[in-house]
């Protein structure tokens, strides 16, 4: 078992290294950071001096090596745009993204499961059909459009909710939270709906189809034949058995929520790491881009590694057969 885990961890580390290498190879195509860093009065001399100072005159492999060297010591360099350490900026921005992702995730799971069960039980009811058709919107409309529509409806027309920002935050030992103020909670509503809508419809459709599958099984019929109440059949017997694949998908989607918060954060000017990344791309802020990409890939690789290890416990075949994958 240990060998299996070590092998998987080794593969994960290799994936990380390759992601970083590809990222550094691509940075040159994003543009030249020097142009943004110096004003229009700069001289050719200034450009060369700064380029040498930042090590941008070296091949990308060397730049990558230097980045890795710093990164293993916990030093991700200094942002070209803000002139502050990247690690500090990321830590400052992380709570905003994590809180948003958490609220979106909880909303998506709660509503997704509830609506999924409802549409499965009332398969032919008119309300279930309306919900199913409406869910197509969640799947097919791009996130930024949903965000802008929500802003126009709830901020501009109705004036109920703020259109941008996080509202007031309270600092709890370095973690700035929006959960403790009224404006902070209000500010969370629109972005979290925007971000979680896709996941919600995904979960809903998955729960529905799994549920329909399970409801056809013999043990459900027997349960009904035994005269159990509908609620007991639906929730205790049917729902429980649909949850296995749903939980797998939820786990994987959680990573996606954090990674793809970029667009939602841009629309709502949500001061999280996604917005930071977009700003970094526009300014060609290489240290921030590199650190963000590495962070996201660590997250995905970590989730996959965890899933792999869980499979090891769940699937006995992996234990017997050491040579093959799954």
């Amino acid at each position: 078992m240990l060998a299996y885990i070590i092998r998987r961890a080794g593969q994960s580390a290799l994936v990380l290294l390759i992601v970083g290498l590809v990222a550094f190879a691509m940075f040159r195509f994003v543009g030249d950071p020097i142009d943004n860093m110096l004003g229009q009065e700069r001289t050719a001399e200034d450009i060369e001096r700064l380029r040498a100072q930042l090590g941008l005159d070296q091949p990308f492999v060397v730049q990558y090596y230097k980045f890795l060297e710093g990164a293993v010591q916990g030093n991700f360099g200094v942002s070209y745009r803000q002139g502050r350490p990247v690690a500090e900026i990321l830590l400052e921005r992380a709570p905003a993204t994590l809180e948003l992702a958490m609220v979106s995730g909880v909303l998506a799971i709660l509503f997704g499961i509830a609506l999924g069960v409802f549409t499965a039980i009332r398969r032919d009811g008119w309300l279930a059909n309306v919900i199913m058709s409406a869910s197509l919107i969640g799947v097919s409309l791009p996130t930024f459009l949903i965000g802008i529509l929500l802003i126009y409806l709830f901020s501009v027309e109705l004036g109920w909710l703020p259109s941008f920002g996080r509202g007031e935050t309270v600092d709890l030992g370095g973690w700035s939270t929006g959960f403790l103020t009224e404006s902070g909670l209000k500010a969370l509503i629109l972005p979290s709906i925007t971000l979680g809508l896709y996941q919600m419809t995904l979960i809903m459709r998955l729960v529905r189809s799994e549920m329909l599958e399970v409801l056809r099984q013999d043990y459900i019929r027997f349960a009904r034949a035994r005269g159990l109440r509908d609620r007991a059949v639906n929730f205790r017997h049917a729902l429980k058995n649909t949850m296995v694949p749903v939980i797998t998908v939820i786990g994987l989607q959680l990573g996606a929520i954090i990674a793809f918060a970029i667009i939602t954060e841009t629309v709502f000017q949500w001061p999280g790491v996604g917005l930071l990344f977009i700003n970094a791309i526009q300014f060609v802020d290489i240290p921030v881009m590199a650190a963000y990409l590495m962070l996201i890939s660590v997250m995905f690789v970590g989730i996959n590694l965890l899933v792999d290890i869980l499979y090891f416990f769940i699937d006995p075949r992996l234990r017997a057969d050491r040579s093959g994958g799954h």
Partner: protein
């Protein structure tokens, strides 16, 4: 019980004092200041934020005219043409209570001349700044410099003592990873005091009630909350929903919407920025075209024909929705050297253009690549697209290559483009600035943005002589001569002057400043 009473009384007291004259200006634009360090970045939005907290010796008021700030008056020295004398304002205090004296000015100029400073080119001609007494400064330049004051309007003065105490004497250094105190803190003499700052999120400033000019200027805003909002639709939504009182970087497609909304107005003025195309006339053969062994752009007739093919009124109406002013020269209207006659020299004449192309031997036309930014100027890519169609009418097939600014501008400074869009603002309000960067032949420290390959030694000498010509009349005559050459050579194809739009709640009173640098001390609130 006692404490409860005390607390509620204190709360009541706070509530009443706050309601007396608390006017908060909630202000948004697309980007944030990059740093608060006064000398680390020479960039518009960054200067704008600094202007609320720091002050230079001289500022420009809303009309662009000089206004005394930390200097009360200034003049060239009677004894030595290489010296400017500045009398400083007395009784001014920095936010931390320290006195403002000549020592701080000397220190700030030395700091701005450090290698890491982004302001050093603007004051490159200054060789020494010396304090005559506590309130008099002499600036020595390497030759007579008649327009020195116009280079000082964004050069902020720091307190020597504060800077030394906080170990921030050196301008922020990126590579060293040095986080200077001045990057995130501010101690100026300006009308507003920094309260809190989260970069890219929110910057809060409150009124400096000890400001020297508190009785001179409206100063009606007691608190400024500055929030960058990057997404244009969200930015406008924030103004429409009343969450923001004052908005810069208005998207042109939303002007009518904002103007028609209750309680909101849009104010506009010509901006200090002209948009034009550059053409590489210097190379024997250029890579971006389909003609081998010759450079069509080297022929002035081709350049003239291309300029005549551009219909600036159509661009103004269709692409810019009326938000531009067609240009005939590459100087914004309030710059010394601009003339109305030259600014209306661009005419559209397709037949005439075709005839010129024929005459130049390119009657069948040619094809060329146009490099264009897509995130720098108002509707930049759309302007280029319009130009593609217009140039097609005279047989010039244009392949448009639009890119983000971070990829576009290096093409110009590295000489990798033969046909490109560029916009130019003139912080000094004088033509010399344009000539230095766009007309003078390209060298390592001059002509850096001249991607045309144009290099005329005689003209270069004339441009260089402007810097030290103290006879303003003769100098203006030289400027006019240089412009004549630029116009006759059709060095650039001018397109238009951008128009600046500020959206605001109707309780905010301020006129648009051509530099796009609102100074909140001029704002009224009612």
């Amino acid at each position: 019980m006692k404490t409860i009473v005390a607390i509620s009384m204190a709360a009541a007291l706070l509530a009443t004092t706050a309601s007396v004259s608390a006017e908060t200006l909630r202000w948004a634009r697309s980007g944030d200041a990059l740093t608060l360090d006064p000398h680390a970045q020479n960039e518009g939005p960054t200067h704008t934020i600094r202007h609320q907290m720091y002050e230079p010796l001289i500022i420009r008021d809303v009309t662009g005219a000089f206004e005394p700030a930390l200097a009360t008056d200034w003049a060239p020295s009677a004894d030595d043409p290489n010296v400017w004398v500045f009398n400083l304002r007395q009784g001014v205090k920095f936010h931390d209570g320290a006195d403002f004296t000549a020592e701080d000015v000397v220190f700030s100029f030395e700091r701005a001349k450090q290698p890491n400073s982004d302001m050093k080119e603007l004051i490159g001609s200054i060789t020494e700044v010396r304090a005559v007494d506590d309130y008099t400064i002499e600036m020595v330049t390497d030759g007579p410099n008649p327009i020195l004051p116009s280079n000082l309007t964004n050069l902020f003065i720091m307190d020597k003592g504060w800077t030394e105490a906080n170990d921030t004497v050196n301008v922020q250094d990126f590579e060293g990873g040095e986080i200077t105190y001045a990057t995130t803190n501010a101690n100026g003499t300006g009308p507003y005091v920094l309260q809190s700052r989260e970069p890219d999120v929110r910057t809060v400033m409150t009124r400096n009630d000890n400001y020297w000019g508190i009785d001179q200027f409206p100063m009606e805003v007691t608190e400024i909350v500055y929030t960058p909002i990057q997404n244009a639709a969200t930015r406008v939504a924030a103004l429409l929903s009343g969450e923001v009182d004052f908005l810069q970087d208005m998207p042109v497609q939303d002007l009518d919407r904002v103007n028609n909304a209750d309680g909101l107005v849009v104010k506009q003025a010509p901006q200090n920025r002209v948009i034009f195309f550059g053409m590489n006339q210097g190379a024997d053969d250029i890579e971006a075209d389909d003609i081998d062994g010759a450079n069509p752009l080297a022929d002035v007739r081709v350049r003239k024909a291309m300029s005549m093919a551009i219909n600036r009124d159509a661009i103004r109406q269709v692409v810019m929705r009326g938000q531009s002013q067609p240009a005939g020269m590459i100087a914004p209207p309030f710059v010394n050297g601009w003339t109305e006659a030259m600014d209306s020299e661009s005419t559209t004449d397709i037949e005439g253009a075709k005839a010129l192309m024929e005459e130049a031997g390119y009657g069948d036309g040619f094809s060329i690549r146009l490099d264009c930014p897509n995130d720098r100027y108002v509707n930049d890519e759309a302007i280029c697209q319009a130009a593609v169609g217009m140039l097609g009418q005279i047989g010039v097939t244009v392949n448009l290559d639009a890119k983000p600014k971070a990829q576009h501008f290096p093409l110009i400074t590295d000489g990798q483009t033969d046909f490109y869009m560029l916009g130019w603002g003139v912080p000094t309000y004088d033509s010399e600035y344009i000539f230095n960067f766009l007309v003078h032949g390209r060298e390592s420290d001059i002509g850096t943005w001249n991607g045309t390959g144009f290099d005329n030694d005689e003209l270069d000498a004339k441009i260089e002589s402007l810097a030290s010509n103290t006879d303003l009349e003769a100098r203006n005559a030289d400027i006019a001569d240089i412009w004549r050459v630029v116009q006759d050579e059709q060095l650039y194809i001018p397109i238009h002057h951008q128009v600046l739009n500020w959206g605001m709640s109707d309780k905010v009173g301020i006129e648009v400043d051509p530099e796009d640098q609102p100074k909140v001390k001029y704002f009224t609130m009612n």
